[in-house]
Structure formats: structure tokens, C-alpha cells
């Protein structure tokens, strides 16, 4: 029953007809022989070259050599070689250079090196062709044997009770088989692995790209993603710095971070309005912390409703109070956090100020998870 629903069975022979595969392998064989002929020719050149090097080396050893001097292609004169250390070497394009024996040998050796590299390239090519040919042969023989390919499409959540286990198992392999439809069954596993790796790498790349983007846009701060990213980082720092507060850090942070966040806040007002749900809370927190001093007055005066700005201000009031009441280090801490402002931090603010601002907390708590609050409370105390 299940098989009828899920699987499809295709014989390999229908995908790759035996004759076609054999034809392909024959063509590969032809290509290989052609390349091998070329290789043989190159090898001949190399031996010729080596012989010539030996000859050129030996010729200057004597003043003259008795030879038959060719006269046209079908006749000779008896004669002798003279000036045995003067060679006229063709450089190409009809240009000749007069060289000594030694210089000629250098030229010939360089020629030999190029020939060697050509031979290497050709050998690599032949190796590739042979691999291809063997692949075709295997495919042909498999098709002839009547091998079948079984494919099963992944159906999402078809059987809910079956849970994810069977789904997961079936999911990956079929997708790869689909991708490899055109290939022979033999290489499927390897291909699957390769595809998986490629996918992974691609994802990594994408992630890296987005990271870069966020870093670059930090200053612009128009990019919501960027900000949230940064916030996350900073929140991590904050949690680390949390309890062992160092006075130096406070002061430094105060001076440096106070300015930056302001920029953020202004732009984020816009972004917040655009998407309340996600970021409104965070931006509020930040603003609340950063602009605590500045906004305090406004917040109270302005309308309290559910509009994000209102919330921000309401919250802002809270940290500012806390700053004022506690120490000088407090504000710096807050501002630092504000910069990072994530949901988590928000909760922190709430904790510290919760006692003082009841109305604000009620507003904010509605939009925030209650869990982190308690956690950070614990940490604080």
C-alpha cells in the first residue's frame, strides 16, 4: 500500500538505453585513441629532441665531420661539416639566431620542457577520458542487467503519528536522487555527499554575507537586521559584565556609548514604527535607557497608549529614575545596555525599576515574555 503511494520504479535501461550508453563509451574510446596517438607523436618529438641535444653536444668536439650533404630531397653530395660550433637555430616565424653549441642546447632543453608539460597535460586528459569511458561502460552494463532506480518523493507531514523519524530518513536521500536523476546509480552516494557539502557551504556563505552587511551598515543603522545583530552581541557582553561592574568601564562607556546610541535611537524611531511587533519593544528599551535624561520629561507629558514611542518613553522614565537614585555608574551601564537592547535587557530594566513604575511595567510586560524577567532578577540579586 505504501509503496504504491510513494515509490516510483524506473528501470535504468529506460533512462539510458543500452545502445546509447555503448555508443557513448565507443566514442570515448575513439577520443582516447586519438589522444594517445597525439601523445605518441609528442613522445617522438621528445626523443628526437634528446637525440639532437646529444648530437649538438658532440659536434663541436671535432673540427669537421664527413657527411653526405643533402642536395634536394633525392640527392647527396659527399662533403663535410665545417664551423662545428656555429648553429643556426630557428626561433619561429622565420627568424633564425646564430648560437654556439651550449646556447643551442639551452634552447633545445627549453623546448624539451614545453614538450614535457604538454605530455603531462595530455596524460591527465587521457586519464579523465578513461574515467569517463569506464563510467559509460558501467552504465551500459548496468542498463543491460536491468537495474532499476527506485525513487520516493518526500511528502511533508503525511503521517503525523509517524513523527519525524521516517520523514527525516526518507527526506534526504530522495532529494539527492532527484538531483542525480540524470546520473548512474553508482555515483549517487558520492554525489549526495558532494551536494550536501555544497549546500552547507552555500549557507555559510550567505550567513557570512549577511554578517558583513550588518557590520557595514552599523553606522547607518537603517538596517533593522544590523541593529538586532549588534544588540545580540552587546547583550552578550552585558551579561558578562553584569555583576562585576568596574568603575572605569562605566565612565568610558558613558562617554563613548552615549553618543552612538542616540543616533540609533532617532533612526529607530522610524523603524520601530514600521514594525511594532518585533522591534518596538527593543527600541523602546534602548531609548529608555539612552535618552533617559532627555526624554524623561516628555514621556510623562505625552500620551501613554500602545504606540511604540509612547511605550519607549514610558520605559525611559523608569531607567532614568533608577539612574538618578542609584549611582553614577548606573546610567553608564544602562546606556551601554540600551545600545544593545534586546528583549532580555528590557526585562532587566523592568526588574530594577519595576517597583517604581507600575503603570509602565504593566504596559511592557504585556508585550514581553515573563520568563527572562525572573531570570535576570535572580542574577541581579
Amino acid at each position: 500500500m505504501e509503496e504504491a503511494r510513494k515509490g516510483t520504479v524506473t528501470s535504468l535501461a529506460s533512462l539510458f538505453p543500452v545502445e546509447e550508453a555503448q555508443k557513448a563509451s565507443k566514442r570515448m574510446q575513439d577520443a582516447i585513441t586519438e589522444k594517445e596517438n597525439e601523445l605518441g607523436r609528442l613522445r617522438d618529438f621528445i626523443t628526437d629532441n634528446n637525440n639532437l641535444i646529444n648530437l649538438v653536444q658532440k659536434l663541436p668536439e671535432e673540427l669537421n665531420h664527413d657527411i653526405m650533404v643533402p642536395f634536394g630531397k633525392a640527392a647527396f653530395f659527399p662533403g663535410r661539416l665545417i664551423h662545428t660550433n656555429e648553429f643556426l637555430v630557428l626561433l619561429g616565424e622565420g627568424y633564425f639566431a646564430e648560437r654556439t653549441s651550449k646556447q643551442t642546447i639551452d634552447i633545445l632543453k627549453r623546448r624539451g620542457n614545453t614538450l614535457d608539460s604538454q605530455v603531462d597535460a595530455l596524460e591527465a586528459m587521457i586519464k579523465d577520458l578513461k574515467a569517463e569511458a569506464s563510467f559509460f561502460n558501467v552504465t551500459a552494463s548496468e542498463a543491460a542487467e536491468g537495474l532499476v532506480e527506485i525513487r520516493e518523493d518526500y511528502v511533508e507531514e503525511k503521517s503525523i503519528k509517524g513523527e519525524s523519524k521516517p520523514g527525516d530518513i526518507t527526506h534526504d536521500p530522495p532529494s539527492f536522487y532527484e538531483a542525480n536523476e540524470g546520473k548512474a546509480a553508482t555515483d549517487d552516494e558520492e554525489f549526495a555527499r558532494m551536494m550536501a557539502k555544497l549546500d552547507e557551504l552555500e549557507e555559510e556563505e550567505l550567513a557570512a554575507e549577511s554578517d558583513n552587511k550588518s557590520d557595514n551598515n552599523e553606522e547607518a543603522a537603517a538596517d533593522i537586521e544590523a541593529i538586532s545583530h549588534q544588540r545580540l552581541n552587546n547583550s552578550l557582553q552585558d551579561t558578562e559584565d553584569f555583576q562585576p561592574r568596574i568603575p572605569l568601564e562605566h565612565t568610558n562607556n558613558k562617554s563613548t556609548t552615549m553618543k552612538l546610541p542616540e543616533k540609533y535611537n532617532r533612526q529607530e524611531d522610524i523603524t520601530d514604527q514600521l514594525n511594532f511587533a518585533g522591534l518596538a519593544v527593543q527600541s523602546k528599551v534602548r531609548e529608555g535607557k539612552n535618552l533617559a535624561h532627555n526624554v524623561e520629561d516628555f514621556t510623562l507629558g505625552k500620551n501613554p497608549p500602545s504606540h511604540p514611542e509612547a511605550k519607549e518613553k514610558a520605559e525611559a522614565a523608569a531607567p532614568s529614575k533608577s539612574e538618578a537614585q542609584h549611582q553614577t555608574s548606573r546610567p553608564s551601564f544602562d546606556s551601554h545596555k540600551a545600545f544593545t537592547g534586546s528583549i532580555v535587557e528590557h526585562t532587566e530594566n523592568l526588574q530594577t525599576t519595576s517597583a517604581k513604575q507600575t503603570s509602565n511595567s504593566s504596559q511592557v510586560s504585556g508585550s514581553q515574555p515573563s520568563k527572562p524577567v525572573s531570570r535576570f532578577k535572580m542574577q541581579r540579586r
Binding site: D48, V69, A75, F77, G79, T84, F87, V89, L90
Partner: protein
């Protein structure tokens, strides 16, 4: 009947493709080789005549020792020349003897060329003939140009 005709046509076509055409290609290649020889000997004759005209007694040339590397060579006595007479044999000739030999050789080469030309023509005629036979079997109308010849 149809299948019989088809089999016949196929046989003829195979004969043309696998026998006559390769024969033709081979014959043409052979003839080209002979042409080459003809050129070699006509060059040699011209060169010897030049030597004679200029009454050259000694000669300096460049000898290719392989891969376009040349070396100077000297021929002290040009009176005697060794000429390739085929099958790897070389005969020592004087200039006049050499010229005499070359003329005879050239005649022979001309005859060979003639033979090959005949052969090529006959192969081409056979191909034509077989193709004509195929045409008759499948009963295509004859080409119009043939019957219109008037002498």
C-alpha cells in the same frame, strides 16, 4: 518485394560507402605522393642545370640536423652526385648521367600519374554507376540533363 528492393539498395550503398569511396581516397593519396616525387625530381634537375650553368665546383650550404637547427657544410667536389633511385639505394652519377637518369625517372613518374588518374576516374565511374543502379531500383525519375545531349 519492397523489402527485397530495400535490401538491395542497402547492399549497393554499403558497397559504395565501404569499398569504392575508400578506394578512391587511397588512389588520390597515392597520386599525390607521385606528384610529390615529380616535384622533387624536377627541382633536382633544375638545381643540377644551375650548377652546370654556373660551373660550380665547390659548394657551401646549410644542413638541417633536425628541429630546424642548421649547420654549415662544405662540398669540396660537386662533380659527383649521389641520386636516390628508390628502395634506399643511391647511385653515384656525374651531372650528365644524373640528368639522363632524372629525365627517365620523370617519364616513369608521368606514366604513374596517368595510371592513377585513370584509376581514380574509373572508381568515380563505378560510384556513379552504382548510384544510378540504386536510382533505378527505387524508381526515381532519371535526371533530365542526360537525354538532352545532342551531338
Amino acid at each position: 518485394m519492397d523489402s527485397l528492393h530495400q535490401a538491395k539498395v542497402q547492399k549497393f550503398e554499403e558497397f559504395v560507402d565501404q569499398r569504392l569511396k575508400p578506394d578512391l581516397v587511397r588512389a588520390i593519396a597515392e597520386r599525390d605522393k607521385v606528384f610529390e616525387q615529380q616535384k622533387i625530381f624536377s627541382d633536382l634537375r633544375r638545381n643540377i642545370e644551375n650548377l652546370e650553368k654556373n660551373s660550380v665546383t665547390s659548394l657551401r650550404t646549410l644542413v638541417d640536423i633536425g628541429s630546424e637547427v642548421y649547420l654549415q657544410a662544405e662540398v669540396p667536389d660537386t662533380q659527383r652526385i649521389f641520386v636516390d633511385i628508390g628502395l634506399g639505394f643511391h647511385v653515384e652519377f656525374t651531372w650528365s648521367e644524373a640528368l639522363n637518369y632524372i629525365t627517365q625517372r620523370e617519364e616513369k613518374i608521368a606514366r604513374q600519374i596517368e595510371e592513377y588518374t585513370q584509376l581514380i576516374a574509373s572508381i568515380k565511374a563505378q560510384i556513379k554507376l552504382v548510384l544510378e543502379g540504386i536510382r533505378e531500383i527505387i524508381q526515381l525519375p532519371a535526371e533530365k540533363s542526360l537525354p538532352e545531349r545532342i551531338f
